[in-house]
């Protein structure tokens, strides 16, 4: 199996369902390069499935273009788009064997019987299911059904592979194994892939780029590291990972996405941020809980983050009000002077446990703070 690599571009794609007021997908633009795996990530109801179904041709857009390799597919019926899709329910044909399921798309392409047989065999071998070719779907486990669905979508050498929450019906262990497997197969075949999920770990782990969707719009489209380190909005910062927000009282732009930011809690800092922020109103510093260091007040040791000593950044006093232990990490909630609560995730160290009521000092590296605006 190989793949003619396809380039996908969504332009102003919009879907407003009949008898609804606001669009489910609100004029989104998205550019997926050849061979990339892009995750559409967002909470339930944000329009991910709607977007995917429009690309597949199962749903007509209200406006906009779906351009694959330079050609607008809007108006091309679903069965002529040559795509591969894996559904959340797998949607295997219950009355056909595994081999017949996988061969269905090839039959539709009127390939000779011999070639269908060989390619089905090859596809099943790819997902390690060649020994189950004659079974019915009902006699397979969830993970096996998932693999059949993947083989069935890929055997036709689709222009695009579309996956709608393909792992959400699997148990946690299997889910992680399948993530790796899907990613490896996708990379080997080089099929341009659009992957819908509401699971941030899945998206961060698998995707080359993530499009964060929120209320029908794309809040940010960037590689996983950038999504995490440089969130474009407060929503992105809270949806992917945990975030502390420290409200800004004064923001002065220094150009090139750098700002001088004042806040009641931290004083004045020089930080990076989202480009184009002009006012302190609604602007906030994002600091990740695991990038904060903490020590008992009066302790002389320098605050450490993951074993590294924090250089002379701001130090904030506080009192532990909650502490949750999860083995690797202890999650603390600390009351700080301006009435706010700060979350801290501390890698656990033997014989050192901060308890509720302990007076502490919090420190961090200003480089770990990132300024987001009002959007």
């Amino acid at each position: 199996m190989s793949s003619a690599q396809a380039h996908l571009e969504l332009r102003g794609l919009n879907k407003t369902y009949p008898n609804t007021e606001s669009p489910a997908v609100d004029s989104i633009d998205l550019n997926v390069a050849e061979g990339e795996l892009v995750a559409l990530l967002g909470p339930s109801g944000c329009g991910k499935t709607t977007t995917l179904r429009m690309v597949a041709g199962l749903l007509d857009p209200s406006a906009g273009e779906i351009v694959v390799n330079g050609k607008d597919l809007v108006g091309t019926p679903v069965h002529k788009r040559g795509m591969g899709m894996v559904f959340q329910s797998y949607a295997l044909f219950p009355h056909m064997t595994v081999a017949e399921n996988v061969g269905f798309g090839l039959q539709m392409r009127k390939l000779p019987r011999k070639e269908v047989k060989d390619r089905v065999q090859e596809a099943l071998a790819m997902v390690q299911l060649d020994h189950l070719a004659q079974r019915r779907p009902a006699a397979l486990s969830g993970g096996q059904q998932q693999r059949v669905a993947l083989a069935r979508a890929l055997v036709v050498e689709p222009t695009l592979l579309l996956l709608d929450e393909p792992l959400s019906n699997l148990d946690a262990k299997l889910r992680e194994a399948m993530r790796r497997e899907i990613k490896q197969i996708q990379q080997r075949l080089g099929t341009t892939t659009l992957f819908v999920t509401h699971d941030q770990d899945e998206a961060l782990d698998m995707a080359d780029k993530i499009a964060i969707m929120h209320n029908g719009v794309i809040a940010q489209y960037a590689p996983p590291e950038e999504i995490f380190d440089r969130p474009a909005t407060r929503f992105v910062a809270t949806f992917v990972g945990k975030a502390n927000f420290i409200e800004a009282t004064e923001v002065v732009g220094r150009g090139g996405g750098r700002y001088r930011v004042s806040s009641d809690l931290l004083g004045t800092l020089e930080v990076e941020g989202v480009e184009g922020i002009e006012a302190a109103e609604d602007a906030a510093l994002v600091v990740r809980p695991h990038r904060l260091g903490v020590r008992r007040r009066g302790e002389s040791s320098a605050p450490q983050i993951g074993g590294e000593i924090v250089p002379g950044g701001p130090v904030v006093p506080g009192r532990v009000v909650d502490s949750a232990y999860t083995g690797n990490v202890r999650s603390l909630v600390v009351d700080v002077p301006d009435g706010q609560q700060i979350m801290i995730d501390e890698l656990t160290v033997r014989d050192r446990a901060l308890a509720i009521g302990d007076e502490v000092e919090i420190a961090f590296d200003p480089d770990d703070a990132f300024l987001v605006g009002s959007r």
Partner: protein, 260 residues
Amino acid sequence: MLKVLHRAMIVAIYLFLLAPIIVVFFISFNSSNRLALAFEPPSLQWYANLLSNQGFIEGARVSFITASITAIVVLLIGVPVSLAVARYRFKFKGAVEALFISPLVVPSVVLGLGLLLVFQPIGLTGTFAGIVIAHTGITIPYVIRTTLMSLTTADVSCEEAAKVLGANSWTTFRRITLPIIFPGLIAGAVMAFIISFDEAVISLFIAGSGRVTLPVEMFRYLQYRSDPEIAALSVVLILISVIIVLVVERAMGLRKVMNG
């Protein structure tokens, strides 16, 4: 103690339900020539008489033909209607649904009289076509219900998966939808056949002086004669029903069929 009561109750209920059948069965093998419980020596005389009763044989032929055609016609109408209702949005969808389900709530006598008034002027009384039209009307709700149930329980994404894989609407229906809902269709068709075969009231209204179905023939027979021949016929009909049920059961599992 409670358990014993419970068992006794179940036995009593079954006895109550089966009593008429048991009585009919008993009478049909009795040599007495009255249609009543009697204890004469056993005999197969009434079954032998059946074979020479031209009225019954003709009635059975008419019923068999009309019930079979009815079963096919209701499928041909019911499946597209169910598909439209289950898979597409269109104007007056609620009205269409109600129209096809409504014969269920109209009393047979009213329906029979209405059909008679319509059929009389256009010469449909006492014809195969008339019977089939009438029976199609009363059985179509059953077919639409079983088909709709199969369609709504079937995973729509199977059909979508087929389309994405390159199947057009017709191929998707033929290769995916139809096989998945097939047990529901058979259940509906069998039900339509049995109801049509069994239907007496409407058939009686529209019989006129022409074709007469078996139930009508039996009804007329009873008006003039009352010997156990009618009981023998009833036993034969019961056996036919049992055989149909067994065949469907063997072919695809009745429970599966009934659950769509």
